[in-house]
Structures are given as structure tokens and as C-alpha cells.
């Protein structure tokens, strides 16, 4: 460093000559310290996720690691918690239930929202915008209020303690969001698309399915991801509407492990990691949909 800066100080009298001042003027160093700050912050923000994943392999505490050394920590890591989770808990069943409920409910929600969103977005009739606003208002009904009567209604209808019931609840739960989001996309399609199709002898339903839907495939994909996230994350409805261990979904399922007499945090972190990984993968592959969907749908709605 010193040999590099010597000639410059020699040729430029009056320039600041302490090393520190010279460093501050150096753009590369400034950029590096800026980048250092950013990456440092990234590491701090990511630490909880990293710690969760490490803990799923070995739930050693920090003091244990410091006391026994990094070598001991690394050798204490194993897949034991994951094996335990699969073999001696209902995790696989819950995972399956979660996958079924979230995928089926989102698919149904998208089908219903396609027609609903088309209706609000592209057809002109009285009451259209009032219904759109009404959909937004339903988003302000707290779930904690809805769940009390819903529990009673589902019990009376025989939908309590059944995956079908949970799917019905999730379809309605995601519907305002999916409808509102698809409406936004449909609205921006060129005008009179479906009229052209209908002149060619297609029905209104046929026009939606054959013309509008294929054109909005990316929008449907984005909406599907966000709808699926809502259903995959949902906790309260699943907690109240399902009682049977064999029918539970992941969030209330894993949560029970905290209440057990001997809490195995390694096992719990293995569960938390497994719930998270599908989302991380989805995010890695479909990141632009996430960000675009957020900008176009979530923020606007």
C-alpha cells in the first residue's frame, strides 16, 4: 500500500498526507467499506435462518460450542433429528395434509377467481365496483372473529375435523386476494379480445378459458404462488377446525412439539427447516414473480 501511494504524495503537494485521509479519498476503499457494511448487514439478517438450519443438525448451545470447540460442534451434527421426525412423529402425514390442502384450495380459488376477476375486471355492469370494494372490506374482517361462528357452522355441516372443510375455508380465505390480483391483470389486457373470439362462435365462458386465460398465464402463476403461500402459512383456521392428529396440517402439528414434557429443539428446528425449504426453493426459482407480484398485486390491492 505504502509503495503505491508514495509517488502520488510526491507529485501532489498540499494533498492530505496521513494514510487515513488518503484512504478516505480512495474510491475503491470507500466502495469496499460500503460493500463491507452491506454484506455485514446481510449476514446479520440471515443469521436466524442459518442458526435454525444448523440447530436442526445439532441443537448445541453457543456456550457448548465455545467450550468444546468447533470440531466438536461439527462432529455433533447428524441427520438424527430428521430421521426421528420422519420415523417417530406424524410429520409425514402433516406434510401430506398441508400439501393437499394448500394445493387443492389454491387451485379451486384460482378457478373461481378467474371468473370473478374477469367479471369485475372486464365486464361492465351496475354493482361491479361496489362488489370490488366489498371484497376489499372482507379483508378487514379479523380471522379471530370469523373463526368462532365458522367453527359452529362447520360442526353443524359436518365439515369440522375434515380436510374438505379446511379446503372450503381456505378457498374463501384466499379468494378476495386471488380475485383482486387477477382482476388487475385482466383489466390491462387489450380491449375486445373476447368479443373477437365470440364473433368466431365461441361462448363467453369459452372466450375466457381459450383467450383470456392463456394470455394471462404468468399472472395466474404469480397469483397461484401468493395464494398457495397464504394457505401454506395459515395457522388459526387449521388449529381450530382440525382436531384429529391424523388430519392436522404442519403449522399446528409442529407447534404441539413445544408443549411436550421434554422439548427436543433439534427436532423442532428440523420441522421448522422442512416447512421453510419448499418456500426457499420456490423463491430461488421464481423470484421475479414474487417481486413483480408484490409490486403489481399485493401492494396495489
Amino acid at each position: 500500500m505504502a509503495t503505491e501511494t508514495d509517488p502520488t504524495t510526491g507529485t501532489a503537494p498540499g494533498e492530505p498526507d496521513t494514510l487515513f485521509q488518503r484512504l478516505k479519498q480512495n474510491d475503491t476503499v470507500r466502495l469496499l467499506s460500503f460493500e463491507g457494511l452491506v454484506w455485514g448487514l446481510v449476514l446479520i439478517v440471515l443469521f436466524p435462518i442459518i442458526w435454525m438450519m444448523l440447530s436442526s443438525f445439532s441443537a448445541a448451545s453457543l456456550s457448548d460450542i465455545v467450550e468444546n470447540g468447533l470440531g466438536w460442534y461439527l462432529s455433533s451434527m447428524s441427520l438424527e433429528n430428521y430421521v426421528d421426525m420422519v420415523e417417530s412423529t406424524r410429520f409425514v402425514t402433516w406434510f401430506k395434509n398441508s400439501v393437499i390442502v394448500s394445493l387443492v384450495s389454491t387451485a379451486l380459488s384460482i378457478v373461481i377467481a378467474t371468473f370473478g376477476g374477469y367479471s369485475i375486471g372486464r365486464l361492465r355492469y351496475k354493482g361491479r365496483s361496489a362488489f370490488a370494494v366489498f371484497l376489499l372490506i372482507t379483508q378487514m374482517f379479523p380471522y379471530a372473529v370469523i373463526i368462532i361462528p365458522l367453527f359452529i357452522i362447520f360442526r353443524n355441516l359436518g365439515l369440522f375435523n375434515s380436510l374438505t372443510g379446511l379446503i372450503v375455508a381456505y378457498v374463501a380465505f384466499t379468494l378476495p386476494f386471488t380475485t383482486w390480483m387477477l382482476r388487475g391483470f385482466f383489466e390491462n389486457l387489450p380491449e375486445q379480445l373476447e368479443e373477437a373470439a365470440m364473433v368466431d362462435g365461441s361462448t363467453r365462458v369459452g372466450a375466457v378459458v381459450r383467450v383470456i386465460l392463456p394470455l394471462s398465464a404468468p399472472a395466474v402463476a404469480t397469483t397461484f404462488i401468493f395464494g398457495w403461500l397464504l394457505a401454506w402459512n395459515e395457522f388459526l383456521f387449521a388449529l381450530v377446525l382440525i382436531n384429529d392428529q391424523a388430519l392436522k396440517t404442519l403449522p399446528p402439528g409442529i407447534q404441539q412439539w413445544v408443549g411436550q414434557n421434554t422439548i427436543n429443539w433439534g427436532l423442532i428446528m428440523a420441522g421448522a427447516t422442512t416447512v421453510t425449504v419448499p418456500l426457499l426453493l420456490l423463491f430461488a426459482f421464481l423470484q421475479q414473480y414474487f417481486v413483480q407480484g408484490l409490486a403489481e398485486g399485493a401492494v396495489k390491492s
Binding site: 452491506v38 435454525m52 453457543l62 378487514m140 372473529v145 372450503v168 402459512n233 407447534q255 429443539w265 396495489k300
Partner: protein, 311 residues
């Protein structure tokens, strides 16, 4: 001549127009296409809310028939019931405390990431990861990190030569601890919203201002901030509603305890309804909660419409 005159009168009469309107394919299909939505929302949203309003005027344990008691629950709520007011106060601290910090953090990170440096795209993606995590995983993970004996935060404190802190087990820290976890999970929402908005600001504006000799702070104050204002209002209101309505984080992390120190309204309503079995009172508290959300939401709708109007 006469016939034509009559035809014109009939054509222009309101009844015929109305009739033609209702038969026009757009209005018929409009409502036909909405039928499944109306059915689903009706069964799972609207009817339960109407039912909850009814239940809030009754004494109901969920098993025997509800008995009408009029305004009794509401009178109890609004005439100095300390427990309810403590929960309401916690909820307001929980909502506004987290949203303000998230706003500041989101803005700070957006400003940092708006610089062009190698790997800025990767840094943005990595910083979004907390926001991708499921609430259940976040709540369990933070509970693990806050443990008194084995938690990593107390481990760090000990390394720094400090005393361990009872994070979740003390009334002093439980709510604040939950808030930190919630802020961590959700600040990227503000970050990415602000960052997208910042990227859309024309660079000529900055260049012109730099020529005029404006400082960095002036650039932020007079160009960046005004551009971000619409999205700032919308994201703040949305996040406030999500935070107000969230059940999972507090329920899993602290259960509202110790005592009522970290209790928020959604968890409180759940406990009253399904643990205590006092569904009438739970419904009444829930309706109060709904009124708060609705009034807040109406403000949001006004801004939303103003925002649309500008475009």
C-alpha cells in the same frame, strides 16, 4: 311517421332500457361469474360475521343454546375492564411499534441497495429471505433463540461478559422480544417495495439536482421521499392491518404471556372462545376489533382511491 315517433319514445323509456340492460350479456354474465365467489365468501366470511354480531349479544358456551343478554358484554368492555384495556394497549404497541421500526429499516436497506455495486442483486435476494419464511418457522426459531439456558442470544451476551436475560419469561421483555422477531420477518416487505419505487425514479432528476449543488440529504428529502410517499402510505396501512390481524407469531412465541404481558387481541379472542369457552364475550371483543380494523381500513381505501385517481 306516428309509429316511428312512438318507437322512439319506447326506446328511450327507462323501463325498456332497464329491461335491455338486464338482458345484455355483460350484466348477466357479470353476476353469473360472481356466483361462486359470492357463495364462498358468503359461507366463510359474511355469514360468520353476521352470526358473530348476534353471538356478541348473547351468553354462549358453544354447546348449549345462546341466551340473549343485550349489550352486557359491550358495557363490560367499555366500562373500565382493565384486562381488555391492557390487551388493547399491548396490541397498539405491537402494531405501531413494529410498523415504525420496519419502515425505518426498510427505507435504510432500500437506500443501501439502490447503489449499484457488484452483487447488489444477490444481496437484495438474500435480504428478502426472512419475508419468505412461514410464520410458524419464524415463531419457533425465535423461541429457540430466546431460550434462557440454551438460546443463542443469551449465549452471545455471555460471550460479551454480560448477564443472561429472561427474554420470554419476563413481563418486561416478552412483548418487545416478539416485536423484534416480527420486525425481522416483515421489514423486507417495505425494503423491496421502496426499492422498486426508487428504481423507477428518473435519474435525470438527481443529475439536475446534483448540478444545482444539492447535498445527499436534500436529494433524499426533495426527490426520493416525495416519490415514495404513495407507496409508503399504502404499505404502512397494509402492514398495520396484517400485524393487527396476525395470530401465529404471538400465539406460538409467547402465548400472550407471562400473564397478559404480551397478549394481543387475536390471541385473546381465541383464548376466550376456545380455552375459556366464553364465546359470547369473545365475539363481542372480536366485533370491537373488527370495528377498529374497518375504520383503519376505510382510511386505507380513501388513500387507495386517491392513489388511483392520480394515475
Amino acid at each position: 311517421m306516428v309509429a316511428e315517433k312512438y318507437r322512439r319514445i319506447i326506446d328511450e323509456s327507462d323501463i325498456i332500457k332497464e329491461y335491455q340492460y338486464w338482458l345484455s350479456s355483460e350484466s348477466v354474465w357479470g353476476w353469473v361469474f360472481l356466483l361462486p365467489t359470492i357463495a364462498a365468501i358468503g359461507l366463510v366470511n359474511v355469514y360468520p360475521v353476521i352470526r358473530a354480531i348476534y353471538l356478541s349479544f348473547t351468553d354462549y358456551d358453544g354447546i348449549t343454546e345462546p341466551t340473549w343478554i343485550g349489550l352486557e358484554h359491550y358495557i363490560r368492555i367499555f366500562t373500565g375492564w382493565p384486562e381488555f384495556w391492557q390487551v388493547l394497549q399491548n396490541t397498539l404497541v405491537w402494531v405501531f411499534g413494529t410498523v415504525v421500526v420496519m419502515l425505518v429499516l426498510g427505507m435504510g436497506f432500500a437506500v443501501l441497495l439502490n447503489h449499484d455495486f457488484p452483487g447488489s442483486g444477490i444481496a437484495t435476494s438474500l435480504l428478502l429471505l426472512p419475508w419468505v419464511m412461514p410464520y410458524i418457522a419464524v415463531a419457533l426459531n425465535w423461541q429457540w433463540m430466546y431460550r434462557y439456558q440454551t438460546g443463542v442470544f443469551n449465549g452471545l451476551l455471555q460471550l460479551a461478559g454480560l448477564e443472561r436475560v429472561l427474554w420470554l419469561g419476563s413481563g418486561k421483555f416478552a412483548l418487545a422480544a416478539a416485536m423484534v422477531g416480527w420486525i425481522w420477518r416483515n421489514f423486507p416487505f417495505f425494503m423491496i417495495s421502496f426499492l422498486s419505487a426508487m428504481k423507477a425514479i428518473p435519474t435525470e432528476l438527481y443529475e439536475a439536482a446534483l448540478v444545482d449543488g444539492s447535498s445527499r440529504w436534500e436529494l433524499f428529502r426533495h426527490i426520493t421521499f416525495p416519490y415514495l410517499q404513495p407507496i409508503l402510505i399504502v404499505t404502512t396501512l397494509l402492514m398495520s392491518l396484517w400485524t393487527f390481524n396476525n395470530f401465529t407469531m404471538i400465539f406460538v412465541l409467547t402465548g400472550g404471556g407471562p400473564g397478559l404481558s404480551s397478549m394481543v387481541l387475536p390471541v385473546y379472542v381465541y383464548r376466550k372462545a376456545f380455552i375459556t369457552g366464553d364465546m359470547g364475550m369473545a365475539a363481542a371483543i372480536g366485533i370491537v376489533m373488527m370495528l377498529i380494523m374497518l375504520s383503519y381500513g376505510l382510511v386505507y381505501l380513501r388513500f387507495y382511491r386517491a392513489d388511483i385517481g392520480q394515475k
